[in-house]
């Protein structure tokens, strides 16, 4: 591990020639790590046709792109993509590799880690570089988010992490950055095709996209019943936002899992997150803590949700939320 290449790689996940949003978030965070470590920030792009995506990768801070093209890389298939990424790692020996914790990343990263006896830390919420020990500090919630743990990887390289979307903010450097493109050929002809995608369906979920919403109003056990979610919807509509929910309410069948926010649901990053009747089992907090501003409404003034709130309203949500809706509507009319 002493002879590694001083590089930080971001796996540039793409589908149909479109880069995933999390790639830009990882590059933006990767720049900070690069500045602190002195390593070079690079993107790894495996696709059927990578060139049209290069400019955007440079614009978000990649100094170098490892570009692997092959018709077999048209759609994601774990056997091909893990072979590509692992071959590149073997050849170039980077220090750090970051992946989005998407369906693809959560399949690719563990496979690559096993192939190379590399350390992999899932769902990091904070990354930092320890200049003294020259290692990546990977912080993540554990035990359903009840505690935070900082993980290091002292003796194995590369150090690899996955990060969910919306955990880091994306920030473009400029619109005309330049960098180096390294074209790499990797022979995939020897890999037997063990699985074949026969269909890919994009579903229109009939809910406002939680990940894109500026305002999210979420309900927890304190909402009391499925019918009472109307109160939550009322405020979400008045604000032009989306409805979120805690795991308890989803498990109880009060609302569909599409609404679930938390460690096992969606990670969201709205301008304002309003938690109504949510105690704040940190499994939930892990999914919304990066909201710009958090408002908690709860009867129990000791509820842990108040620990992360900017504003706490102690009282009955069934009175406060309709009042909130009324005053917002009055303001907007």
């Amino acid at each position: 591990m002493n002879n590694t290449n001083k590089e930080i790689w971001v796996y540039a996940e793409q589908e149909n020639g479109k880069l995933a949003g999390v790639v830009f978030e990882l590059l933006s965070e990767g720049r900070k790590l690069a500045a602190k470590s002195g390593y070079t920030l690079c993107a790894v792009l495996a696709s059927a046709n990578g060139k049209p995506m290069h400019q955007e990768l440079f614009n978000y801070g990649a100094k170098k792109i490892y570009n692997v093209e092959d018709p077999r890389l048209e759609i994601y298939q774990n056997d091909y993509f893990s072979k590509v990424v692992y071959s590149l790692i073997e050849k170039e020996t980077p220090e750090i590799v970051l992946y989005g914790a998407s369906t693809i990343g959560r399949s690719l990263a563990p496979t690559v880690a096993v192939m190379g006896w590399a350390g992999l830390t899932a769902d990091c919420t904070e990354l930092d570089f320890d200049t003294e020990r020259q290692c990546l500090l990977q912080t993540r919630p554990a035990f359903g988010g009840n505690i935070m743990a900082t993980i290091i990887c002292p003796d194995h390289r590369p150090q690899m992490s996955t990060v969910r979307s919306n955990v880091f903010k994306k920030e473009r450097v400029s619109e005309h950055e330049t960098g180096e493109v390294v074209d790499v050929k990797i022979d995939l002809s020897g890999i037997k095709e063990r699985m074949k995608r026969v269909e890919s369906v994009i579903e229109e979920v009939n809910t406002v996209d939680l990940k894109a919403a500026d305002y999210i109003v979420s309900g927890g056990r304190g909402v009391g019943s499925p019918e009472n979610f109307k109160v939550i919807e009322g405020l979400a509509n008045a604000l032009g936002g989306a409805v979120g929910a805690s795991r308890a309410t989803v498990d109880a069948g009060w609302i569909s899992h599409h609404h679930q926010v938390g460690q096992t649901g969606k990670t969201v990053c709205p301008l304002i997150y309003i938690a109504c009747g949510i105690s704040g089992a940190i499994q939930h907090l892990a999914g919304m803590q990066s909201a710009d501003l958090i408002i908690a409404i709860n009867k129990d003034s000791d509820a842990p949700i108040f620990d992360v709130a900017d504003f706490g309203l102690v009282g009955d949500l069934h009175q406060i939320v309709p009042e909130f809706t009324k005053q917002i509507n009055a303001l907007r009319s």
Partner: protein, 261 residues
């Protein structure tokens, strides 16, 4: 058809709290359960067995008390169980865990057609062991499976994606991780519950699995825990109380002051 379901015994994380003064988990009295997603994997196996026959083996790696989770799985309908347990396996991260479970799979005498995992465990939430085992064992892996049907050559699997779903044809043997939307676990039967209590569950440790000892437990784990701490608490918070109308009025005033509304 021989289906192996890998399950993990976990503390019910909804009931775990943290002591803010010592930064330790209050685990006393917190019940142990089968990881909820592993229940979906088990039910998927049971449904495949209902339709096509065969045998279900459940495997768990953990301390001796994980045997309880295996007996529970048998009360729901699993036929056989194996516990992977040895002090030397302690402290394993997902890499070393994947390696160790794979050794157990290789030791099974009956050929395996399908290996099922829950999509992730609720204590670690890593979702890494399924794909890790699949690679070590040398079988194709499909994550986030919602359904699985038997085909001539293997399986047709619906995979939940970030925006919808994919349908895959995968050859057997294969490995899948299963999502909650797939199903919900049936009730245990009284007869099976009685039988599960008497079942003999073999325990496989270092002696039985003959691992490369540099690849197990803490020593075989590339990742180490550097520090554990309580989630941060916001300091500049404002707590309002009183009449709902007044609280809301004050809140809206402050939000507008901050220009977020």
């Amino acid at each position: 058809m021989h289906i192996v379901v890998c399950i993990k015994q976990v503390p019910d994380s909804d009931k775990v709290t943290i002591d803010r003064e010592t930064n330790r988990l209050n685990r006393a009295g917190v019940p142990s359960i089968i990881n909820p997603f592993d229940e979906n994997a088990l039910e998927m196996a049971l449904q495949l067995k209902d339709k096509h026959g065969g045998k279900i083996t459940v495997i768990s790696m953990g301390p001796p008390q994980a045997e309880e989770a295996l007996r529970t799985a048998m009360s729901h309908g699993a036929d056989d169980a194996i516990l992977i347990s040895d002090r030397k396996f302690g402290g394993a991260d997902t890499w070393a865990t994947s390696y160790t479970i794979t050794l157990a799979l290789k030791k099974l005498t009956e050929p395996v057609d399908l290996i099922l995992f829950g999509k992730q465990a609720i204590d670690g939430d890593t979702a890494q062991v399924g794909p890790g085992v699949a690679h070590f064992f040398g079988v194709p892996m499909i994550t986030y499976a919602k359904s699985c049907e038997v085909t001539d050559a293997g399986f047709r699997v619906q995979q939940v994606t970030d925006h919808g779903y994919n349908v895959w044809d995968v050859e057997k043997p294969a490995a899948l991780t299963v999502v909650k939307e797939a199903n919900s676990l049936r009730m245990p039967s009284l007869k099976k519950k009685m039988a599960s209590k008497k079942a003999v569950i073999p325990v496989w440790g270092v002696e039985q699995l003959q691992p490369d000892e540099t690849k197990i437990g803490l020593a075989g784990s590339p990742t180490k825990v550097n520090k554990v701490f309580a989630p941060p608490v916001k300091l500049n918070k404002e707590i309002l109380s009183g009449e709902p109308a007044d609280m809301v009025k004050e809140l809206i005033y402050k939000l507008r002051e901050k220009k977020v509304l």
